[in-house]
């Protein structure tokens, strides 16, 4: 599903997909804003699945665009490092590398084994089966309340009134901070995730200044929780695990930011995406009203189609040959999840949302391997509960304008989505 093709404003009438293959640079934010990047990815998958781009605003990098090759890179953390010392997990190194006094991101997503496992294990209990069972009724209660407060018959922004509200409340719960502070967390998350040139980026200086406030806030909370008996929230878990109770400030801040970012805009964007998909694929979604058992499949397909995290980056620690291409030690390797999720050899008719795919779980949006998204069950639970509540209340949620997408090669998401809801009439209720 592509929008109208536009001519490339930078080279006049030549569109990027018509350029000679060696001149293609997919790391341009504008290509993601309108989904123009999708046919470019299709071409790379066909003609140059392991593609070297020698020059970009982020320096030289390799693009890995096929599903199976992305799996290969993602599942080999020894050859393909995530460590911040090597550049971290974003195509934008400057986000990750510290210069004196600057913020450097040290969350465990950007650590290699053996350190990675020690940090992750400290907080993984937040997504245990027991924890999820405890969270479920809270998510249910909030979702019901938010949807019951929506205006009927007038336009409103789904992003602000549903996606942001529900996910910021979830974040506040996972950290056990007052709901009134949740917007602060969302703000810190948004500025951490934004890379140069993308929406939300202000400046490196501004980011450092704001994130030092984040550090102060969470350091105070950490002291409190360390002095109290252990309980079921992320700060208490960090405070009581022997591997994470004595971290240097930048290391501590990195874990906090990772957990905030992980629980924030990704789920937010999936919630918004589900409404976009409802309007793009109405026949498919209509099946859910008749058979709510399809909600599970819908959640998986929306997450595949949307691919909230468009790429993750690795650094080769030794020379490695992939599809006759030699990736050198030190080279930047970008796994384009957005491309792998539209790989037609894995997902026939990949641009369509289809609830009947046999391999519906096989999407790349949560990654694979040791870094696979720790929060995936919480994300899916929120989406599932949201849609159970939607099906009970509404027979339609219509877009009244084209959604406004975020301009970013790392985040596939929405800044605004104006909709109007139609409640289920008495005769269509069960």
């Amino acid at each position: 599903m592509n929008n109208d093709r536009q001519s490339d404003p930078q080279s006049g009438a030549i569109r990027i997909e018509d350029l000679p293959i060696e001149q293609i640079d997919v790391s341009q934010h504008r290509l993601f804003e309108t989904a123009e990047v999708l046919p470019v990815f299709a071409r790379l998958r066909r003609e140059a699945p392991v593609h070297y781009c020698p020059k970009s605003q982020f320096g030289p990098y390799w693009s890995i665009t096929r599903h199976e090759d992305i799996m290969r890179v993602d599942t080999d953390p020894v050859t393909f490092s995530s460590a911040i010392q090597n550049g971290g997990v974003s195509i934008d190194d400057r986000l990750m590398r510290a210069t004196k006094g600057d913020f450097r991101f040290e969350g465990f997503i950007a650590k290699d084994p053996p350190a990675h496992g020690r940090y992750r294990k400290a907080v993984q209990p937040i997504v245990s089966a027991e924890s999820l069972q405890n969270l479920r009724s809270l998510i249910q209660e909030r979702t019901d309340r938010i949807l019951d407060e929506l205006p009927v018959g007038e336009q409103f922004d789904w992003v602000e009134r549903v996606s942001v509200k529900l996910t910021t409340m979830m974040m506040a719960t996972l950290f056990d901070v007052p709901l009134a502070d949740a917007p602060k967390l969302a703000y810190w998350s948004d500025i951490t995730g934004a890379i140069e040139g993308a929406d939300g980026f202000v400046s490196y200086e501004h980011r450092t200044e704001q994130l030092m406030k984040c550090l102060d806030y969470f350091s105070a909370l950490f002291k409190e929780r360390a002095a109290a008996p252990p309980k079921f929230d992320l700060i208490s878990m960090l405070a009581h695990d022997p591997d994470t109770c004595n971290l240097q400030p930048m290391d501590f801040l990195g874990q906090v930011l990772l957990l905030i970012v992980g629980s924030n805009d990704t789920t937010r964007n999936s919630m918004s995406a589900s409404i976009n998909c409802l309007n793009l694929f109405p026949d498919e979604f209509r099946k859910m009203w008749a058979d709510p058992g399809l909600i599970d499949a819908m959640v998986k397909e929306v997450v595949r189609w949307q691919t909230p995290i468009a790429h993750q980056r690795r650094t080769a620690v030794k020379d490695v040959v992939m599809r006759d291409q030699t990736i050198r030690a030190g080279d930047k390797v970008v796994m384009w999840y957005y491309s792998g999720n539209r790989d037609e050899t894995v997902f026939p008719n990949p641009d369509r949302v289809r609830f009947d795919r046999a391999n519906i779980n096989h999407h790349l949006s949560f990654g694979f391997g040791i870094h696979r998204c720790m929060g995936m069950r919480v994300a899916e639970l929120q989406l599932r509960i949201l849609w159970q509540a939607i099906l009970e209340r509404f027979e339609a949620i219509e877009l009244v304008a084209a959604p406004k997408r975020i301009r970013s090669i790392s985040r596939n998401g929405y800044k605004e989505m104006m909709v109007r809801v139609t409640p289920r009439s008495a005769r269509t209720r069960q």
């Binding site: 599942t75 294990k121 599970d296 949560f366 694979f368 870094h371 069950r377 639970l381 599932r384």
Partner: protein, 106 residues
């Protein structure tokens, strides 16, 4: 053909004939045992085929490799008897192997 026994958290028990050479995960998928998702398709890459092997069988299985251990480190609710079922190959000697499926909250 060997029979593998899969027990869901609510006690629902499946006794499934699984051909020699298949993985315990493949046997579960074929029989739609709930809670074994195998998102990565059996490539030791996701942790969603996680099972608890019944105590009397744990010593009879070949040990898991480093890759399996690494994925289990990133998996929730892991116990000493935890294995990734995609890494257990069915043999005649494993006739009656019993595994419990962890609770997956949806």
């Amino acid at each position: 053909m060997p029979i593998i026994v899969y027990i869901e958290p609510d006690g629902t028990t499946h006794n499934i004939e699984v051909p020699v050479g298949w993985s315990v995960m493949e046997g579960a998928k074929g029989a739609a045992v709930r809670g074994i998702d195998a998102d990565c398709g059996g490539n030791c890459a996701c942790g969603t085929c996680h099972v608890y092997v019944d105590a009397k069988w744990t010593e009879q299985l070949p040990r898991g490799d480093d890759m399996e251990a690494a994925i289990l480190e990133s998996t929730s609710d892991v116990q000493p008897t935890s294995r990734l079922s995609c890494q257990i190959k069915v043999t005649e000697q494993l006739d009656g192997l019993t595994v419990r499926v962890p609770l997956v909250v949806r």
